[in-house]
Amino acid sequence: MEDDDDCPPVAVDLPPLATSPPATSSSDVSPVGVTVITGYLGAGKSTLVNYILNEQHGKRIAVILNEFGEEIGVERAMINEGQGGALVEEWVELANGCVCCSVKHSLVQALEQLVQRKDRMDHILLETTGLADPAPLVSVLWLDDQLESSIRLDSIITVIDAKNFRVQIDEHKNSSSFPEAFHQIAFADVVILNKIDLVKDNLEELEKHIHDANALVTVVRSVRCHVDLNEVFNRQAYGAKNSSHLQDLLDYSKSVPPSLRHDNSISTLCIYEQDPVHLAKVESWLEDLLWENKSSMDIYRCKGILHIHDSDQIHTLQAVREVYEVVPARKWAEAESRMNKIVVIGRNLDIDVLQNSFSGCKS
């Protein structure tokens, strides 16, 4: 049947070649940051999300409400279209495929689809409901660079109700349990200390409690979650080569006195070692701690810099629960004094055991 094809149609404009096929172009564009928002019910997560969606900040931000662990389903993504401030709804299908022989979790595939469908996306917020332990979600979103994904995990934000937190801490003084909120604080890169207008006194003390648990976290105070978005987005907390984080670690000093609590609370410790260490030994040391659970310590996060034998590169170390990465970041500067420094956040941490076992990596 040739009839349709006999007369040629009118040729149409050929757009410039710049629009190359998606497979190759996606790797040229820098990936879209994903921020995970945690926090207990009533802390102000929804307030933060609404603020971000409705504020005129000129950024195009998608908010996805995700019940992590609910594999099958369709997620609603709300997108602030930027300048106009118009809200657009998109539906993101979570493919219920065989997740296991696929390297990327269906959530990652759904986020990549969202990024691909939109011609421009500045950031993605993932609001999780009542997620007590963010670690499984982090291990799904912290993708290998090799995968050249169009998304990257930017940071974990925990919203805390300052008033409720105060109450929890006071109760804690009379019991052996620790406030549940500390678990989320331990994994957070940013804590938004919300509802400060309801707590008249002693915000410093609240912040100190937060920093005792997680010395690396940035605390942002807020009323009704009005925060500077530039402060909470694009933290690049999982970027191994992020220079400001590297500097933070170089400058990090043990000035935060570990009040030598040998209770079961969450705390931050710092391992320090001047002499160079062997990379292979550091890896085995980490794997014993994180994978083989050979001690009673429960390690949530590590961030550190390493001075490796026969290398002029600063190596950065990062771990979330059992997933870890050690990569060369840049050359040591002439003026820098070379050293190893590992900040460890977790429960039941024993600085002597950590320090001594790490020193074994020297020879």
């Binding site: 049947m1 149609p9 404009d13 050929l14 410039p16 710049a18 594999e71 296991c100 290998d144 994978w291």
Partner: protein, 390 residues
Amino acid sequence: MEKGGSESSLPCARCGKPAQLQCPKCVELKLPRENAAFCTQDCFRTAWSSHKSVHPKPNALASQQFPEGWRYCLKRGRVRSSQLPRFDWTGPLRPYPISPMRVVPDEIEKPDWALDGIPKIEPDSDLQKRVEIKSPELIERMRETCRIAREVLDAAARVIKPGITTDEIDRVVHEETIARGGYPSPLNYHFFPKSCCTSVNEIICHGIPDARKLEDGDIVNVDVTVYYKGVHGDLNETYFVGNVDEASKQLVRCTYECLEKAIAIVKPGVRFREVGEIINRHASMSGLSVVKSYCGHGIGELFHCAPNIPHYSRNKAVGIMKAGQTFTIEPMINAGVWNDRLWPDDWTAVTADGKRSAQFEHTLLVTDTGCEVLTARLPSSPDVFPWLKP
């Protein structure tokens, strides 16, 4: 963005002058721009009578007269269509209609997805997070099942030749599996419509057996998993169809070697992430690339579970091998770029550049001193790989 990339540098498909226009039909069909670019309306009109042959005729495939009930597979197997879906196909291969679902006799023990397509135990099992150390009794069952899976794959290998369809391969796999009392694990797994995967040429993995006849010069991977006595055994091999060009032979042989070299390092104490380093090193030395989107997996009473074993280098896979663990290693190696795309059936993974891809897979058991290849070749296995000849 490349400098000067904003300026169209495509030549006219007819005369070679810089092109400003393109064929609207090619745009509609998402065909490659290279053959669709023209300098002027005149040149396009002149070229039309020969150019139009690049448009696939809508009823060209339908006119081949497929048997009643054969349809194109869509939506992960949940939808069938009588029309070839539209897609910017990455290479010359196209899907063909698939036959109706095959039946498994009642007396055969079935996994929990057999009836409704949804695995229930697998997704929520704690074995997705923890790598199981198998009991000797479980290991013995794995040996039996893996041996059956090997026999089934060998039976499929024996029928491969130009002119037979991948559906015919599926029929052999299906019948040989149930003849041994097993269930073909892929059948209805997340709605997968067939009893094995057949991946031809640019298909990386999860190709659906269909009405396409194998052609002289094709390569085809057959991926078999058998469920028997409550456990799964999983393996695959890539075969030559008739006379295959030298580049394809190299690709298939290198992929075979990648798996061999990976198996050679398996023993207690080795990190799972080392597997990717070995495979990547061998593939890159031959100028080939490693598929990153699909990985090896734990296997046993579950079809897919922990650990995840990526085949690419610099991965953050967690864990160390221990005696008593069982898992697959199944490198997919591409002649061109590593990137993959998914066909509209939502199963078939193809190379993004349309170049060929090969794969080999074994189910392995970590032993005290190394590993046992549970799906190893048998003395009776067909002699199809020239490099294995004495």
